[in-house]
């Protein structure tokens, strides 16, 4: 999030408002219950709500980090989950889904590219403004393997869920090192962020090559690891397919975080489907994480 803020010191996540020297932390006073709402013994997820914006800053040309304050999301979000953000503009009602990036105290960050009217409006927002959100949504990466080494392969704006994975693994005190391989067009805008959680950052930009170049360079190294290796990947589909091909030919397990245009983001409209070997699945509810095998990407190039 902002640079003054030292999330690496917060080993224990979700411990209340961020400490440290966070500028706008007085904005973050969430009063919602941090648990779901319990009525007559049934527990319900919180629906759409208006939350304060803690900060908005530009990470790169057209790339924005937006931090909100929402205790429920901060406590419950897991890597690869996403949230719907909504504009204040009645002409643009639809949800804008974004991967949950960093979590510090009650604060949750998102990183997005300005690609259309909604993201342009979010980029104009300021600390103290309110924004409507729904989430966390979707399923998480499978990070249950106790001794796996995770390689995070991201492209462009696919990096937020991988940053969250790095933070999660780091904060949950696992011994295993993560390796972040982020492919950028030009500026390495997320390296310092993921670098807080992952001491092995091997990013690359278009002048230098692409994520496969980096993976290739790791080939020998990986063969020597006895721990299981798992690749978590998010980014443009051609990149993910290339990663799937690379990994499957080496017997390395992969999990992909997909994107699809969404109508609702919470599984009610069947708009966001992807073809899997088990039929058409909802990316928002049954994903966004799928394995190469489920997607039939193992043998594709």
């Amino acid at each position: 999030m902002s640079t003054q803020f030292i999330p690496t010191q917060i080993k224990q996540r979700h411990t209340g408002p961020a400490k440290g020297s966070h500028d706008a932390s007085d904005i973050c006073r969430c009063h919602e219950p941090s648990e779901g709402i319990v009525v007559n013994g049934e527990s319900y997820l919180p629906a759409r709500r208006s939350v304060p914006i803690v900060s908005v800053r530009q990470l790169d040309q057209g790339v924005i980090e937006l931090v909100i304050c929402d205790r429920y999301m901060a406590e419950h979000a897991r890597p690869a989950q996403f949230a719907n953000l909504f504009t204040h503009d009645g002409l643009r009602l639809m949800p804008r889904p974004f991967g949950i990036c960093e979590i510090c105290g009650d604060e949750v960050s998102f990183i997005f590219a300005i690609v259309g009217a909604g993201t342009a409006q979010f980029a104009q927002m300021k600390a103290g403004d309110s924004i409507d959100v729904l989430g966390p949504l979707g399923k998480t990466f499978d990070l249950t393997s106790p001794d796996a080494r995770y390689i995070l392969v991201g492209g462009g704006l696919g990096v937020p869920p991988l940053i969250q994975a790095a933070q999660y693994l780091h904060d949950s005190g696992r011994e295993n090192r993560t390796t972040a391989i982020f492919g950028y067009r030009k500026h390495h805008f997320a390296d310092s962020i993921v670098g807080q959680y992952s001491d092995d950052v091997r990013s690359i930009d278009e002048e230098q090559g692409n994520v496969i170049t980096v993976l290739d360079s790791m080939d020998a190294e990986l063969r020597q690891i006895s721990d299981p290796v798992v690749i978590l990947s998010c980014g443009p589909t051609p990149m993910m397919k290339a990663v799937a091909f690379w990994a499957s030919s080496r017997g390395i397990a992969t999990q992909f975080n997909l994107e699809e245009r969404m109508g609702c983001g919470y599984g009610t409209c069947v708009v966001c489907v992807v073809d899997t070997i088990h039929g058409r699945k909802k990316v928002c509810l049954e994903g966004p994480v799928f394995t190469a095998q489920e997607l039939g990407w193992e043998s594709e190039r």
Binding site: V39, R48, L93, M94, G263, G267, T268, V271
Partner: protein, 324 residues
């Protein structure tokens, strides 16, 4: 700055979920003989029991209309299936659904276990398709049927039946012969003469009408010059269609004073729902608003319940299930 989905004066957004789920309902209604806790249902295709019941108790809705169910699983249209439109959305799901067997084994029992008032929305590519579904539902515990003859996103059946009075009369007559369940026929707005279509449905034995389904629409990506939806055109829904849908309800009500009508289209608050009741609807269904907030249907039901306090005549009419 208010959020884009406007809320009405009788603002239940200030109501806690606790209240929304536990307060008694003051203004119930009866639609084609079936009691509803309140006049607000969920619209087909925007309500999935597994997804929605995580956010609220679906038994609190007047009724829930399920996604269109076909005799065998349908895989729907390719993606992208949605594009944004000003104050709305256009979708081309194409009635993807896991088929009747799955529905009977999963969704319906779950809904009934939860205590929901269930409208099963029925889809088909041919008369035979519809007949098979309706036949198999005859002894199942769903409370009402909603025959979807108005989906713009399938090439056979769907809208082609709903835009042709003769074909519609034939289909509904056939269904009437095989079911005693209260049968709602869901009409398409993509027609010249809605009254003629509505009359055909009623003459053939419909117990109620629901209108409208989506209007045909599309968006084009101006970077590529190509349509955004893989299926090119889709169905427009959301606040943008509200005044259009309202006038369809008004016109049908004027022509057919006795048939129960469920108003659908662009409802985003209790006040919108109230406009439908004044236009002649006995109840409403909430569609796209639920895509923007899972609990929108419940919030709208609560807002309407409060607005009806000040309208005892209308509330009484609803309570007795009277039409015009």
């Amino acid at each position: 700055m208010t959020t884009a989905i406007e809320r009405t004066d009788a603002l239940s957004s200030s109501q806690s979920l606790q209240d929304m789920l536990t307060l008694p309902w003051k203004h119930p209604t009866i639609v084609a003989g079936v009691p509803w806790k309140n006049p607000v249902g969920t619209a087909s295709g925007t309500f999935n029991v597994e997804a929605c019941s995580r956010f609220y108790d679906v038994a609190q809705m007047g009724a829930v209309s399920t996604k269109g169910v076909s005799i065998i699983p349908w895989e729907g249209n390719p993606t992208p299936r949605t594009a944004e439109t000003p104050a709305g959305t256009v979708n081309s799901v194409g009635l993807q659904n896991p088929g009747l067997d799955h529905y009977l084994a999963n969704d319906l029992p779950m809904l009934k276990r939860m205590g929901a008032n269930v409208i099963t929305n029925v889809a088909g590519h041919s008369d035979e398709d519809y007949i098979q579904v309706v036949e198999r539902l005859a002894d199942k515990p769903c409370d009402m049927l909603e025959i979807n003859v108005s989906c713009p996103n399938v090439s056979h059946g769907g809208m082609s039946v709903g835009t042709d009075a003769k074909a519609l009369h034939h289909l509904i007559g056939a269904l009437r012969n095989i079911t005693d369940k209260p049968m709602i026929v869901k009409l398409s707005p993509n027609v010249t003469d809605i009254v003629g279509i509505a009359k055909a449905a009623v003459d053939a034995g419909a117990d109620a009408l629901s209108l409208i389904n989506t209007l045909v629409g599309m968006r084009i990506n101006t970077t590529t010059g190509r349509p955004i939806l893989a299926n090119i055109t889709g169905g427009v829904s959301g606040p943008c269609i509200f005044p259009i849908a309202l006038s369809f309800v008004w016109r049908v009500r004027r022509a057919l004073p006795d048939i129960p009508i469920i108003g659908i289209g662009g409802i985003s608050n209790g006040d919108n729902a109230l406009e439908y009741l004044y236009a002649g609807a006995n109840a409403v269904e909430v569609g796209a608003a639920a895509l923007l907030d899972p609990i929108a249907p419940l919030r709208i039901a609560r807002e309407l319940d409060d607005l009806l306090d000040a309208r005892p005549e209308l509330a009484e009419k609803l309570a007795e299930g009277r039409t015009w």
